[in-house]
Subunit: 200 residues, 2 copies
């Protein structure tokens, strides 16, 4: 006997969260029991709501509660410009930059045949279909720079070229405001290769 069974179950359940070990889980359970029962109930309701109510957008595969996500159903976004990203958090990062007025296609992963993640798992058949429909004029690749990200980017490039759609890739180089001494060699090499004429 350590905890009351319901408390033990709650602690166990908390450990399913990323970065939460047995000790943090215990702290969370006791914090809610001690002085946050209403917050605990709200969290439970929010969990049920999201686990059951959040699906994927039919168009871009991002999380959505309706058939289309808010971005895909926004008439002010250009449907001809589509940015390919690996995950919903990448969409958030772009949205926070405020720079992009096109739409997204969210792969929800990257090609990794050994883990059983092939083109179908990433919805690339859906993308292929959309490319063939002719509404997309430019595809912007923004997948990661890992081996899987590169493989995915090349697969998408092939699809786009087959459909006659032009493809670009977001620039790789040194981050804004960063100190050069903290930039890794691979990034610096890429920044050198991608150098552009300097204009006043």
């Amino acid at each position: 006997m350590k905890h009351a069974p319901l408390v033990e179950q709650l602690i166990q359940a908390f450990t399913c969260l990323p970065g939460v070990g047995p000790r943090s889980a215990q702290r969370m359970a006791y914090a809610l029991l001690d002085r946050g029962r209403d917050e605990g109930r709200r969290l439970a309701d929010a969990l049920h709501g999201a686990m059951d109510g959040v699906e994927h957008c039919q168009r871009c595969r991002n999380y959505a509660e309706a058939e289309l996500c808010p971005i895909c159903s926004d008439p002010r976004r250009e449907p001809g410009l589509v940015c390919i990203v690996s995950s919903p958090t990448d969409v958030l990062a772009f949205e926070q930059s405020g720079e992009f007025r096109g739409q997204y296609f969210v792969l929800m992963g990257e090609l990794s045949p050994l883990d059983g993640i092939g083109p179908r798992e990433l919805g690339l058949d859906v993308l292929e279909q959309r490319l063939r429909e002719g509404q997309i004029q430019e595809l912007i690749l923004a997948t990661g720079t890992t081996v899987e990200g590169e493989a995915t980017a090349h697969y998408v490039l092939d699809l786009a070229q087959d459909a006659g759609v032009s493809v670009s890739r977001i620039a790789q180089g040194v981050p804004m405001g960063g100190d050069l001494e903290f930039v890794d060699g691979a990034t610096l090499a890429q920044a050198l290769r991608g150098r552009r004429p300097f204009q006043s």
Copy 2:
């Protein structure tokens, strides 16, 4: 627009947990949405179960699902020896030591008049009643060594003396296996004052 509303609600709800800021909350929400919907539902059920089903033991005030907690209803525990602790986690710490075969009284806090925590809030009227009933032979004080812990210890001492029950306090000194250089001065001073004859 940042997240889908249900996702936003879930992220918000996660920030009620101790040590969870907006970024960890987002990571948790996406982790469950991406590949842990069943775990998310289990966590929701565990939360509802614990928030609604966990009450306080009528005897020791620790968390319990029935009228008595497992320790108070265990006939092998000595009812004459009662250890006074501030919180349920203190009970766990003692139980893990495997040293204590008596029962507990869990204050669920410490005296702090400025925060509106007086003797009644800590159930000290219940303790007083139990001390008068005559079943308790020794009270072991194990409240914290803060100002509030000390004040609480002295209040309980008074109650016990009024009822003619003997009171002891757990030893304060250097922790086992600890290096002296990492022990604070107040603890060392206490360890010196509490020195005992050394026996072979």
